[in-house]
């Protein structure tokens, strides 16, 4: 135990004192916040660009159909022919010209209308123009059928179905997605952590091999102790880095929002909705007050204790499984360029977990794919966490699935660490060989 502590301490200090690690730790939050600010800024710039569209209407229809609003202004031409309208539009540098010719019927008019522009028109503007035509056409046909505008307005009133649980509490639409996003965030965090710090473990093993210190060390400690100490030390350094990132990024974000006066409500809609339940309780325009409160209540009901404790559990086992594979790879090769062929198969299940998780858990947290991947040990740390915000038991993950996934994960964890330790033990003393999978299999019997 004493030796393990020494190794952990050395690995931790070696990592934390590393210059690039220090730079990354303090630079990343600034970069991240800068990126967010840039995106907010660019989105605003993008939204603020108003496009002017000239309308030359020679027909009897559509006289009052085009209203300027948002980022599109419609400006009518009067008493001018098409050619000169085109000319002046182009000369004035105006975005486009909508030409509606004279025709017998509404349909014919609509069919002959043309949109002129210098470049290919933006999709959103075309959509808008098309929608106006569609509405007008619909209205026209309904009038032909004898439906008055007033009746039409009454008919088109939108309808929303009320949703409720069997217990009678009002349930909310979209809450499943919100929950999955929260779980997804945890899953994503695990994946990023595994890829970043697993890579650190691997490089640290390679460094020991290339600097030839490895044999000196394993004449005093067991290879397994060294591997374990390395993994734990590196992950402690990783956790340190993560904590610094989260603290400084949230601090910087607050400062930045304050300085740039970013609209919090606008951001909340775009970014991770309801990541922070307290924020959801902030005063909101009264119109949808009750809904927001319900969402907030629902978010408070997410089993946070369960979620966070299982996050830690799945995180630890998932990370240990993957980082011991990374350590074994590091031991098997002589330099980093040889690692590619082995790294791809590791990243594959991680990516699969994230994408399968996002697609299938979002649409149906208890569907067969979601269940399958949340039981399979190499993907369960990510996929199960995406399902867990729904709770365990009724309405959420059945208890047997939760327990099965943990038992499978534990068994795999022990198996993989055992295998990886074997490869590690042999690999660290092999020099100058480019290993193949066949070779690795042979090492298991040494």
């Amino acid at each position: 135990m004493h030796k393990l502590k020494l190794i952990i301490k050395r690995e931790y200090l070696a990592k934390v004192r590393n210059k690039s690690f220090v730079v990354m730790t303090f630079l990343s939050p600034i970069l991240l916040v800068g990126m967010v600010m840039l995106i907010v800024f660019l989105t605003k710039v993008n939204d603020n660009e108003t496009r002017v569209i000239m309308v030359l209407n020679e027909s009897d229809y559509f006289s009052n159909a085009f209203h300027s609003s948002g980022n599109v202004s419609f400006v009518p031409y009067n008493a001018i022919d098409l050619e000169s309208a085109k000319d002046s539009t182009l000369k004035m540098g105006i975005y486009g010209l909508l030409y509606i010719p004279q025709a017998e019927t509404l349909e014919a008019t609509a069919n002959h209308a043309t949109f002129y522009s210098k470049d290919n028109p933006v999709g959103s503007i075309l959509d808008r123009v098309e929608r106006i035509f569609q509405n007008r056409l619909q209205q026209g046909r309904l009038q032909d059928l004898g439906v008055s505008a007033k009746d039409f307005a009454a008919v088109s009133e939108s309808f929303e179905v009320k949703t409720s649980t069997f217990e009678g509490a009002r349930s909310l639409k979209g809450i499943n997605e919100v929950k999955a996003v929260i779980g997804g965030l945890f899953g994503y965090l695990i994946m990023m952590f595994i890829i970043i710090y697993g890579g650190f473990v691997m490089r640290s093993v390679i460094e020991e091999k290339t600097s030839r210190i490895i044999e000196v060390i394993i004449s005093s400690v067991k290879p397994f102790q060294l591997m374990l100490g390395k993994i734990i030390g590196t992950s402690l350094a990783g956790i340190t880095q993560f904590v610094i990132w989260i603290l400084s990024a949230s601090f910087l974000l607050l400062v930045a929002m304050f300085l740039f006066d970013v609209d919090m409500a606008a951001l909340r809609g775009a970014s991770t909705e309801g990541n922070n339940p307290v924020m959801q309780m902030a005063p909101i325009p009264s119109s949808n007050f009750s809904d927001v409160q319900l969402y907030a209540q629902e978010l408070m009901q997410i089993p946070w204790v369960l979620l966070i404790s299982s996050f830690l559990l799945y995180f630890m086992m998932g990370y240990l499984i993957y980082s011991s594979i990374y350590a074994a790879i590091g031991a098997a090769v002589d330099n980093e360029t040889d690692t590619q062929q082995f790294i791809f198969p590791i990243i594959l299940p991680l990516m699969l977990a994230i994408y399968v998780g996002f697609f299938s858990v979002f649409s149906n947290p208890n569907g067969p794919i979601a269940v399958g991947f949340s039981l399979f040990p190499l993907t369960s740390p990510i996929v199960m966490l995406m399902r867990l915000p729904g709770g365990i038991g009724e309405g959420g993950v059945p208890l047997w699935q939760f327990l099965t996934s943990i038992i499978l994960l534990l068994v795999t964890f022990l198996g993989i660490v055992w295998l990886a330790a074997k490869i590690y033990r042999v690999g660290i003393l092999m020099y100058g060989k480019k290993p193949t999978y066949r070779e690795l299999y042979k090492w298991l019997n040494y």
């Binding site: 070696a14 590393n18 004449s219 003393l429 019997n445």
Partner: protein, 312 residues
């Protein structure tokens, strides 16, 4: 004198390749034991087994009469052939870390490091990083780290590689001093001249098998073949004497130096009996300047044994 280490019929295979086959060795306490053999013979595997880095498929190893166990690690110091240090770590920090892994307390390690750093004139390196040092300098630190915990058994695998002659001598003196203090030393090398200087016992490993072992002096005696180097000072009758000598004895490698009338040659006496030859010289009044038995060097024994083995 008891034995520090006994290796009993140890075998080790890696896949289809035999690294050690039924190797048995006995290493007495307080001696320098030379472990010799060509590259790939199995020396390093044997050393790794003694260090419990790998485990034998068959056979047993005893340390001071007890089966080898993890607690013996702190009594063994090992300087591997493939050796290095953490490049970006400071010298002192690194030495402390490695010493603590061997079970020394931080305080004790510091005291001993101060002593050794002074002894090898490297006191001012404490805060340097390894990457700032030359290869020879790093080797000195590795040597210190190997002996720091005062192990009962030291294992040196090619200890002199990377040292310049002056520092190699220094390290050689340190090894001899450690032996004086009662340490047993296993010395693995294929540099024979250092074997002659240092070793009391040797074992020769070839293609996973031990093919020769024993006290260096005994091994040499076993390999001598009754050859003598003779130098005579001849008078005017030299030609006649030389003809007679050639007729009576087995003579080879003759060198005659005319102006000094010196005659040097190798003489082989099949039964090792020198009386006939000496009597002949005496009767003929020939002046004998040198009479020396030719004892084979370890290098010759090494090559001869392995060649015999390969042709057998």
């Amino acid at each position: 004198m008891s034995d520090i280490l006994q290796v009993e019929k140890v075998s080790k295979r890696f896949g289809g390749h035999a690294a050690l086959t039924q190797v048995s060795l006995t290493i007495p306490e307080n001696c320098i034991y030379g472990l010799l053999g060509p590259n790939g013979a199995g020396k390093t595997t044997l050393i790794r087994i003694i260090n419990q880095i790998t485990h034998p498929d068959e056979g047993k190893v005893y340390f001071q009469g007890q089966p080898l166990a993890p607690e013996h690690i702190s009594h063994i110091g090992y300087l591997p052939e493939e050796r290095g240090l953490y490049k970006s770590m400071k010298v002192g920090e690194q030495a402390l870390y490695l010493a603590q892994l061997k079970g020394l307390s931080k305080k004790e390690a510091k005291i001993r490091l101060d002593y050794w750093f002074k002894r090898l004139d490297i006191g001012d390196w404490w805060n340097k990083k390894i990457q700032e040092l030359s290869k020879g300098m790093a080797q000195k630190i590795q040597f210190i780290v190997t002996v720091l915990h005062k192990p009962k058994l030291l294992i040196f695998d090619e200890p002199f590689s990377g040292f310049d002659p002056i520092n190699a001598n220094k390290i050689k003196d340190e090894i001899l001093a450690l032996k004086e203090q009662g340490t047993s030393i296993i010395f693995s090398t294929h540099r024979m001249e250092s074997v002659e200087e240092l070793c009391d016992h040797i074992a020769l490993i070839h293609k996973s098998e031990k093919i020769l072992d024993g006290k260096l002096s005994e091994v040499k005696n076993a390999y001598k073949n009754n050859k003598y180097r003779i130098e005579l000072h001849l008078s005017d009758r030299s030609d006649a004497v030389i003809h007679e000598l050639r007729a009576l004895f087995e003579i080879s490698d003759e060198i005659v130096i005319d102006d000094t009338r010196n005659h040097t040659f190798t003489l082989r006496l099949p039964n090792g009996d020198t009386t006939d030859f000496l009597r002949y010289l005496h009767q003929n009044g020939i002046h004998l300047k040198t009479f020396q038995e030719i004892i084979p060097s370890t290098n010759e024994i090494f090559i001869k044994t392995i060649n015999q083995k390969m042709h057998a």
